[in-house]
Amino acid sequence: MTISTEIANTIVDPTAYADGDRVDQAFAQLRREAPLEVAQPDGFDPFWVVTRHADILEVERQNELFHNGDRATVITTIEADKKVREMMGGSPHLVRSLVQMDNPDHFAYRKITQGSLLPQNLKALEARIREIARGFIDRMAEHGDRCDFARDVAFLYPLHVIMEVLGVPESDEPRMLKLTQELFGNADPDLNRTGKSITDAGEGVDSIQSVVMDFMMYFNAITEDRRAKPRDDLASLIANGKINGEPMGHLEAMSYYIIAATAGHDTTSSTTAGALWALAENPDQFARVKADPSLIPGLIEESIRWVTPVKHFMRTATADAELAGKKIAKGDWMMLSYPSGNRDEAVFDDPFSFKVDRTPNKHVAFGYGAHICLGQHLARMEMRVLWEELFARLDSVELDGTPTRMTANFVCGPKSVPIRFKMH
């Protein structure tokens, strides 16, 4: 069976992800009828849509057979791909971060920061992160009994944490948030740089490229500073990181900062905002965590599964291969759909219900294999600390209006979560 153009168009449509149900229904239909087939939305090259949890693991596990960097790592129109390659001397990537790398580079570059993001090394940050979380909860209390939890808390807390870890001054945080939202919200007129719907692929690439250039100008100055005066921060690790004994390339260093300064908070923000949205809609689940804080780790994993802030990554087959009985040809492009894997009925009972005690909860929201999210332990710790502090003071929460999601098909989540709450 082939995937209908209607479904193919839906799974790349940013407005379908903003709607939520529309994209969930499309993937549910694919899991039932065409779990691993080729889609060709209007204006795109054909690609395999990997919808099942087990198939996503199988692809991510085989890093040599399924490369990240050979083609665009994010779903891209033919026209946009052509424009990027013209701008980048044939490369399909505007940046070259860990996401666009394969081995041996991926391993070498990842090693530069991986140690500092392991659980045993993050422990030293916990007291400071708790202090930051308490500050945001105090500010939430100052709002009275109403706030927009996404904008007033969830977007700002992980931003502040990662910027401290990275070594960016607090005064620059609004700028980093704006650039991040312009990058990931490029299709959202409320967030992008143009302030309008972008329908022209070339205009979309120009808009992203201008955001990337702003990031690069900013982090260029940080690099110079940290090379001259290294500090105990992530920026110093990147600035002074060596690959085969040589300083890392300019594009690679800039890309490293950009991924830390964007994915390092936006995904945690989306998950945090989506968690409170889900708790407000499921008062029984809120009551359970309130009564038993030992459920907080379960709440965190379920929130990550529920929101799945990274919607997909693309892979490219490096050789002819077989996957779940299908013949994949060398060069084929493949979309790993994380929201679909995280709603896979074969793995998750009642996958469209939010259950803080879901066990096991082996979601694929952080990916799997060598490219698994570098910041996963920091993200979990940030959320654990926030929920420990918030549940100690929050007595009740309910929605105070209709939440909205970003219009985007790559990294996205809630845009607004208006709530009414009681806190002591």
């Binding site: 693991l57 991510e60 596990r61 991986q114 993001l117 392991l118 659980p119 045993q120 066990t359 096991p360 082996k362 952080f366 799997y368 294999g369 060598a370 698994i372 996963q376 332990h377």
Partner: protein
């Protein structure tokens, strides 16, 4: 029962920690399961890295 102190192992790829004393019951590894007793074909439950790519660490 072995008198040897329990050890802690960590996945080089993703940082998953296996503590012999606690085991990982969710993965079918009972508390007290020694690293040497875990089958060679076992992979990291977080990222799929093979057992051979784990390091013993001090916590």
């Amino acid at each position: 029962m072995s008198a040897e102190p329990f050890k802690v192992w960590q996945c080089r790829t993703c940082g998953y920690i296996y503590d012999e004393e606690q085991g990982d019951p969710g993965e079918g590894l009972a508390p007290g399961t020694r690293w040497a007793d875990i089958p060679a074909g076992w992979v990291c439950p977080l990222c799929g890295t093979p057992k051979s790519d784990f390091d013993m660490i001090e916590l």
